[in-house]
């Protein structure tokens, strides 16, 4: 599983980076979204992967190894929320930029259509 997830993280990040370097605002925002998927998965996976673990406490918390690692999850949750917020803002800014500059180039200057 680790190998699969690692490759997945790499592929998401790679696609995201490629888009990040494109000249259109929409490409950039999609790129950032993909990168943030990769980063979220990375943080999520740092505690090790657990299939079929209990996500919530059952009875008294005696055998800790049967539970999924909660801290990375909490971190990812925070990261997802913050990523959502900033993506929304970026979206609005790129729309405003498109409105004010008249095109959707990241530099606001449309050299090549």
């Amino acid at each position: 599983m680790e190998v699969v997830l690692a490759i997945a993280i790499g592929a998401l990040a790679g696609s995201g980076v490629w888009l990040l370097l494109r000249p259109r605002t929409f490409q950039v925002i999609i790129g950032l979204t993909l990168i943030s998927y990769a980063v979220n998965l990375l943080i999520f996976s740092i505690g090790g992967l657990q299939v079929g673990a209990d996500p919530v406490l059952v009875g008294g918390a005696t055998d800790l190894s049967r539970y999924a690692d909660p801290l990375p999850q909490a971190l990812v949750l925070t990261a997802i929320v913050i990523g959502f917020a900033t993506t929304a803002l970026f979206l609005v800014v790129l729309l405003t930029s498109r409105g004010l500059a008249g095109n959707d180039h990241v530099d606001g200057e449309d050299g090549t259509p």
Binding site: L42, I46, L71, L75, T86, S97, A101, D107
Partner: protein, 526 residues
């Protein structure tokens, strides 16, 4: 209750912002008074924290605040030491000083200016106080989000274009931040900086390599925020596009990047970190700092508008500070802190001033300051003896401009000179790189003089048709307030310097920090 003082710098602006949001746009006066109240109390709280941090019982006096009453090792902890208290006071004073400036036309350029400023302060203060790596990320994001809002305040093609770049780059930086935090947490199992510092010497092999990778990416994220070459090109455009009070508030933002690098590099990669990790990356920091300094100076020389000039001053100060803290010397660090304080105040004043003397609302790249024309006219042209009496506001502006120039160039009689002296004097002991930094810092001073003289001469001396927008009293108060502080710091040197020197000693002995935080582990609830 003394402990609760540690959370106050975060809570005061947050509560005020929430109330301001709740009040809505109609209660403008009330919102403004609340902002003043907040800033005043922040100054008071920061001063109290500073006093408690410099309490006489040794250099290890630190206030450690366990949020939620959980042990510091596991939950989030706030730490007030000399350095964080200093930064708190600096931003509080900055905010208070900038506030009157924005009261008139500036805050009316869009809704929610006041709450956004308060939230920016939340971000600053949280980042200064927190002792937790991920919480640092969160407060960075608070700061950045507020800064996005403020950078875009007033809208317009220029601000939005610059804001787009600013946001895109900082979002990328935030990703790097997360990856870095993730890797470090992955190999150490903790987010607490003190615990981390405690664990790092014990890391070996792969975990150490991974931790270094995390630290490097984290560092890069901070370098982006500190606008270091080659990842700092966003700064001049963003800062010069923002309205002056916002740019002035941003003056402390790059310093936050520097602050974090200073804190973490000394805490995690200080003398106790073990041979493989000691001074990790400081060579890089030194050279990046030097290049940033050079690039900033070049930019300053070439700046065609006042806002850009001020923005490049920020780059110069960033580069200088980065290089200085990379030297890992308490004496240099103390000087760097002095330089940091003065450059924040001076640059802020300069941004504010730039808004008063320069018609800002032109398309980007408008030449406000003409490039130097080497054509020489007759040496002894007849003296033009027109009667000169400049109106008083212009004289005041000119004097303030001169003061800014002196501060930023590090020339006497203002405290910029002392700060630069304090920074430079101990630098000669630290090898070739340090000597280069020494020389370039001095050269940057000259570049500042050249650039400022060019601008000042053109604005105040040359153009009879230079338009000075009507200056409101609040705007003058802000500028003079900031400059006044710098003036006072020229004469009142002993006590501030002792504080800074002790601060540098304290952060260069990370064991104080580690003990203060980890010693708390037993006291909190199980």
């Amino acid at each position: 209750m003394n402990g609760a003082l540690a959370i106050a710098p975060i809570l005061i602006p947050l509560i005020v912002a929430a109330i301001q949001v709740l009040l809505g746009i109609r209660f403008g006066r009330l919102r403004t008074s609340l902002s003043f109240l907040s800033c005043l109390s922040l100054v008071a709280v920061a001063a109290m924290l500073m006093m408690s941090a410099s309490a006489p019982n040794g250099e290890g006096t630190m206030l450690v605040y366990n949020l939620g009453n959980w042990p510091a090792r596991f939950a989030i902890v706030l730490v007030v030491d000399r350095l964080s208290a200093l930064m708190l006071l600096l931003t509080a004073v900055l905010a208070l000083a900038v506030l009157p400036y924005a009261l008139g036309r500036w805050q009316r350029m869009g809704p929610h200016f006041q709450p956004l400023v308060q939230l920016l302060l939340v971000g600053y203060n949280g980042a200064f106080l927190t002792g937790d790596l991920f919480n640092l990320f969160v407060f960075f994001e608070v700061l950045l989000a507020a800064s996005y809002g403020l950078a875009l305040h007033g809208s317009g093609a220029r601000r939005v274009g610059a804001g787009l770049h600013y946001i895109a780059i900082n979002l990328t930086a935030s990703m790097l931040f997360l990856i870095g935090v993730g890797l470090i947490f992955g190999v150490t199992g903790t987010l607490n900086m003190a615990v981390l510092a405690h664990l790092i010497p014990g890391l070996t092999g792969t975990p150490r390599a991974l931790m270094h990778a995390g630290a490097a990416l984290l560092g890069l994220a901070f370098l982006i925020k500190a606008a270091v070459w080659p990842v700092g090109f966003w700064l001049p455009r963003t800062y010069s596009a923002a309205i002056p009070p916002v740019a002035a508030l941003f003056a402390a933002m790059t310093k936050l990047g520097i602050y974090v690098i200073l804190r973490l590099s000394l805490l995690l990669f200080g003398v106790d970190a073990g041979a493989a990790s000691m001074h990790f990356g400081s060579e890089w920091l030194l050279w990046l700092g030097i290049i940033t300094l050079v690039v900033g100076s070049i930019g300053m020389l070439g700046a065609r508008e006042l806002g850009k000039l001020a923005a490049y001053c920020v780059l110069v100060s960033s580069g200088t500070l980065l290089g200085a803290i990379a030297l890992h010397s308490p004496a240099v660090t103390a000087g760097a802190l002095a330089y940091l304080v003065i450059s924040v105040l001076g640059i802020a004043a300069f941004f504010l001033l730039a808004g008063l003397v320069a018609p800002r609302e032109g398309p980007e790249g408008t030449t406000q300051l003409e490039p130097y024309d080497p054509a020489i006219d007759a040496l002894f042209a007849a003296e033009d003896e027109r009667r000169v009496t400049s109106p008083a506001p212009v004289v005041i502006l000119a004097a303030c401009f001169l003061a800014c120039g002196l501060l930023l160039a590090g020339l006497p009689p203002l405290s910029g000179f002392i700060a630069k002296f304090a920074l430079l004097a101990p630098m000669l002991d630290h090898g070739t790189g340090a000597i280069l930094l020494f020389a370039l810092t001095i050269a940057a001073g000259l570049c500042t003089v050249i650039a400022m003289a060019r601008a000042g001469i053109q604005i105040f001396w040359a153009d009879a048709d230079w338009e000075f927008p009507r200056v409101e009293p609040g705007e003058t108060i802000s500028v003079m307030g900031l400059l006044g502080i710098c003036l006072v710091l020229t004469f009142v040197v002993a006590a501030p310097w002792n504080y800074l020197a002790a601060t540098a000693r304290q952060i260069h002995a990370p064991e104080h920090y580690i003990h203060a935080v980890m010693g708390q582990a037993t006291e909190a609830r199980p």
